[in-house]
Symmetry: C2
Subunit: 225 residues, 2 copies
Amino acid sequence: MTIQHKLPADIERTSMQIIEKELLQMGIEIPSENDAVVRRVIHTTADFEYARNLRFTPEAVAQGVTALQRGVTIVTDTNMALAGISKPSLMALGASAQCYMAEPMIAEKAKLQGTTRAVAAMRYAAQSCPQAIFAVGNAPTALLELCDLIEQKSLRPSLIVAVPVGFVNVVESKERLFAVCTEQGIPCIAAMGRKGGSTVAAAICNALLYMATGRLNPSARGWQG
Amino acid sequence: MTIQHKLPADIERTSMQIIEKELLQMGIEIPSENDAVVRRVIHTTADFEYARNLRFTPEAVAQGVTALQRGVTIVTDTNMALAGISKPSLMALGASAQCYMAEPMIAEKAKLQGTTRAVAAMRYAAQSCPQAIFAVGNAPTALLELCDLIEQKSLRPSLIVAVPVGFVNVVESKERLFAVCTEQGIPCIAAMGRKGGSTVAAAICNALLYMATGRLNPSARGWQG
């Protein structure tokens, strides 16, 4: 078997062309404003279900990009998602990313508050960076806490990326969060259904970061290099 | 909508029961030796395709568990996979995990060798920890390099977890690697087809780690708590 070695940038460009072609063959048309995000998630997962699962509040992508260009913080609920977010892009924008989950003070707060670390981490982030982009790829309880904080008017984030994965409370938490965001006019990008995860959270953040830095041109279809 | 809050351990137990039930409904029977790994990957991805995609050389799971109990190093090709691997389990076994991809000396080696960072990182790991478990969730070029090193008798790892994701060279690299491992008698767990990724690589390592530490009982079906 001969396998042609290719450079990472060439592989990415070819991958995006394959994704475009297969979406076309499946008769799936993605609204152009959401196109870069949907493709990057498919690129990250090789799973075309995301073409149907991803749901966006109106202008969520543009609002996320603008927030990153203002230099907001991205708060994640896993260190995996944090590890996957493009550090050069964050640096270029003067933005940053944080995950509080593994910090000892969060474990302590969770114990004191009788709650999970995910909830304690969201409460802490809501106080320390209330205009952040929240990227939740793991914990449904984190999403439910964000719902409560928003409804109590204690939080008004720039965007919520709501993509926990799993079998218990996951579908319901994403549905509630999307409804709350729609009602309160908060931008939201969610993967409806069971699927999602840290790689999906990071992929969505990276698509927004690449648009914010001009590496991706949001008005053109696909990858610019 | 009322959503019942649950503890993480209860969520995991319920999730595993749902996965077991749905596999049964789909008429999918997983050989008991591979069961814990397959279920953990489905738990991590909510994607039942892995019940058919995951391929194991004979006794790969047992050999991976034994290697971890000996305290081998897990080498990953992404910092995301590294972030997802259970640190308490590694510590309990005296094992460790490493990712060389972002180290400046690897970028330098790649430049000098005229290759990618993934290839340079695998070459370096093959020298510094030749008995490692290699967990590749991203770069097909990393897998192809492992194939070459094994065929040159420069490397004899304890296990290869071969789960890159994507559209270019991914399917081919996993097929070649699985064939090489089969031929050379090297334990291998691979996700055939396009799917995989850092979360899948970490999930497979964690399933092995939980078995190695006794948190999961490999002879019983499913999760022990």
